[in-house]
Structures are given as C-alpha cells and as structure tokens.
Amino acid sequence: INTYRTSSNQLCSSKVFIQRHYSSGTICKFQTKFPSELESRIDEQQFEETIQTLNNLYAEAEKLGGKSYLEGCLASLTAYTIFLCMETHYEKVLKKIARYIKDQNEKIYAPRGLLLTDPIERGLRVVEITIFEDRSIGSGR
C-alpha cells in the first residue's frame, strides 16, 4: 500500500485489490466481498452492483452458446485465419466493459475519491481500486 505522509495539499493513494473468485471454475469472476477500506467511501450495495455487473459482462464474453460455436466452427474451417481480420466476440465485450468502467468512474467512483482500474490492464487478475485521500485542509487520515 502506498502511503505518503505530507503536510499540505498532496493527493495520496492506497490500493485495494479485488481478487478472482474461482468457485465456478476458470471463468472470469471477481469476489463481491466488500473490502473494509472502502467502508467510509461507498455503499456496499453500490460496490456489489458494480462488481456483479462486471462479472455478468465477463460471463457474456465467455459464454458458450450457439453463436460462439458457429463462430468457432467457421473459424476452424478457415484455419483460424479469420481471427487476423475479424474482431472476436470477446474483444467486443471487452470494449463494452471498458466503457462501463469509464462510466462508473465518472459517475460514481471519482466523486468519492476512488478509481477503478480495468481488470484487463492487470491481466484479469484483480480489480484494482485506488483510494485517493486529499490531504488539504487537514482532512484525511
């Protein structure tokens, strides 16, 4: 955890990591357990809703269904060369996820001094939440 102790208006940050949840197998899913460091900052319900939506989006990306099977079969017939020119279903959903996170940051997290990092930038290992503390006017820890 990064903590800088400064005497005037410095913005310092610490990080909370939401780990992966493996009870359903290898699909990408994050734990919805509310971390204690966020208790003073955001509603538990709000946080859970964000994580749950992310989990649903990742499930949609990895979903096995008629459409993905068709895509996979057609790809195999072309010796998978269509992957070189086509955007895959997963990539489309990842863009959706990036938009969702940006939206959440702008509307909900930034006003509370928090920042969500897109899990894809952390290799889908964690959801990194940076907690900013404004030390001006004597506030903060």
Binding site: I1, N2, Q10, Y22, L64, Y69, H89
Partner: protein, 474 residues
Amino acid sequence: MKNCEYQQIDPQALPTPTPTPQPHHGNDTEKKKEPRRPRRKWEVFPGKNRFYCDGRIIVARQSGVLPLTLGLILVTSGLFFIFDCPFLVKHLTSCIPVIGGVLFVFVLITLLQTSFTDPGILPRATPDEAADIEKQIDNTGNTSYRPPPRTKEVLINQQVVKLKYCFTCKMFRPPRTSHCSLCDNCVERFDHHCPWVGNCVGKRNYRFFYTFIVSLSFLTAFIFGCVTTHLALRAQGGKGLVFALQESPGSAVELVICFFSVWSILGLSGFHTYLVASNLTTNEDIKGSWSGKSGEDVTNPYSHKNIFINCCSVLCAPMPPSLIDRRGFLPADESAQTGSADIELPTLAAKSEINVCTQGTKGLLESAALSPLLSTSCPQGKPQNAHSCPETSPALNSDPTSEFSKGCRGNHTSSSHGDTSRPRHTKARSKKCRREALHIPNPAFDVPVSPTSPDAAPDSKARSHKGGSLTPLH
C-alpha cells in the same frame, strides 16, 4: 542525493571528477542523441520470449525443433508434389494434388499459428499486488519476509482444488495455470511445452495445436497412401519395387519419413482427442490430478459431463484475448530512459502503467522496514519524490538519503555499466511512478500538484541523465 550519485559513478566513469556545469552539457547532447522513441511493452517483457514484427509474433526463446518440423513438412510435401503428383494425376485423378494442397496449407497455417500465438501468458503481478498478497500472508502470523511455499484451497464445483503461489510471477495461479520454466511465464490452461512447435500450448493456442496435429495426421496418412499407391502402380507388370524406387527416388524419402511419423502423429491426435472430449490438459493427465488414484472420489471439476459440450468448449469457445498487450506503448518517460538493464530486473510487470523501481520484493520490504513512513513501492525514488513535492516534510529527506546511498553502494559493488545505469533509471522510474500516480486523478480532480511535477521533472530527469552520461565517457 545528487552528490551521492556523482560520488558513486565518478571513480569508475572518469579519471577526474567533473564539475557540475559540464554534465549539464553532456546531458543535453545525450538527450539530443537519444531520440525519445516510444517503446512498446514487448521490449520490456520479463519472460523468456522473443518477439518479431514489432511485437506481433511471439515465440519461446528456444525455438526447439520448429525448424526441423517445418523442414520435414516442407520437404515431404515438396517431394510429394514433385515426384508423386504428376504420375498419380496421369494414372488416377487430379483431385490428389488438390486435396494434398489443401491439407498442406492447413498444416502450415495452423503450425505457424501455434508457434507464433501467445499461448495464454499471464502477466506478472504489479509490485502493489505482490505486496498486497504478501501482506495478507504475513498477517496470519508469519513475520519472515521471505514468503514460504504456500497453497490456497478453493472449491470448484464441489471439488477441492489447490492454487499454488508462483514465486516468479508473484501471484496465486488461477486453476489450471502452470508456470513454464522454459518460457519463464505462467500460462493459462497449460497443456505442455511443445518443442516441435517451439512454444507452450495453452488456452489460446490449444485449438490451433489440435487442428495442426489432426490435419498433419491426415496429411501424413494421405501422402503415405499416395506414395504406396504410386510405387505399387510403378512396380506393376513384374517390374519390381526396386525399379519403382529407382524411377522415383523422392518417394523413397517420403516413404521413410511418413512411415515413421504417421504412428506417433496419429497416436498424438488420438490422445488429444481424448483430452478434448474429457476437457483435460496433458499436464493434468500426466499428474493424474483427477484420476482418483489417491482413493478419494475426485472428478474433473471443469468437465461439462458431455463429450460434445466438452469438445465445443475447448475448440469453439470465444477466443480469449492476449493479456500481455505486447504492442501497447510504455509511458514515454520510461521508453527514453530504460535500457537493456530493464530485462534484468525480474519483477517488472509488462502491463503495469504505474511502473515502479523494484529490486525484488525483499528489497522493497527491507526498505519499508527501514523507513516506515515511506511508500513500500518507491523506496529508491523517495529523493525524487521529495523534489517533486517541495512541500514534503523535512523528516522524510534524511531517511531517503541514507537509504538511497545504501542502494547506490549496493549497485556500485557489482559490474559498472549494468548497475550504474540502475540508480539512474530506477530513480526515473520511481519519479515516473509518482507522476503517474499524480496524473491519474487529473481528469477527475483539479489537483494543484500537477503544475509542480512537470517543473521538478526536467530537473530530476537532467540529474538522472547526468548519471547516465558519465558512464560512456570512460
């Protein structure tokens, strides 16, 4: 701190110590000489991989016997088209080269895809994540800074699965992930490292690998059949096999190659078809993870209990993205200042935006222990931070100096070039870390800090360039 840096580098770099203004000069020319080319993340990738076409192609460091595989396929197919096809077209049907051609193209494309695709490499944990995980474990009572081997148990589909901690990548491996020692990477759904294709086979390229071996078995069997037919036709009329071989020597070579390879390739295809149908990896099968030999009732928790669904989930699932972002750009500062010494630093995460100076977690934790006030991830960078945040309390300055000079001295004792560059770029990195941390909230906040950091940055950059410019002069 400025003086510290000079004192460490001077004796080795120059016969006489240089006065302050001169390095500024040298620094400017150095800056002009070094174009600020933005570097891509693959250039600082910590694993043992090689990259081509500016990061588009990834292979393992040891190409294994990939050239041999390619050579055998090209030679055999070439001989087939040259020696056997004309005869067979004349005597049988012209479909033969067409089928052969399609199979050959399939084999070649899938082979290259298997070899050049990222198998599902997991990027290493950022220092913050690593510290977070280590902290959790320390809280359970272990006060040592050297993490003991440990596993974490999770329940997957009512089956207990042990997740191991990877010391190289500093994270708990997801299920079915294994660390390949040849490539020095954790690979998701690790199947095996195949020397024939010169790459690991994992989640992302398993379907290419499977298509490769299946089409290769068809191709080998097809060529074997065609060559046998060809020789049989030539040997007709009492002419004999020897005569036939003399007329078409290429066929002899093909016969030998195909005869010896068709069994193993067919066997491999059959084995992998079984694995696909039961949603297993070679790694799990060899270790017997789900075979229940320990007497317990263990079943494969990942299997869908249906052969068709298993096959589809392995071969036709949505193609997962590459997690290592090879062609992404590093933040501009790091591109300019980091040199080849980067690759020696083992804990660099390729994808980390907030890249920090690291000398291993032990180093981080040691410095954290020394100065509890300071950040655990930027111990060496504190002097820079002190400069970039002029309002920092004076208490901080004394600690970093002693710590930094300790770090300097440590670097100084090893080889000159590689290590004198380290304080330079570790300082730059940590300064970058600090600035990145400041920049991130900018869109969201109006931070008065941002004007100060660009001011401080050129100074600190100049200082770190000075350090760098001294070394080549000797």
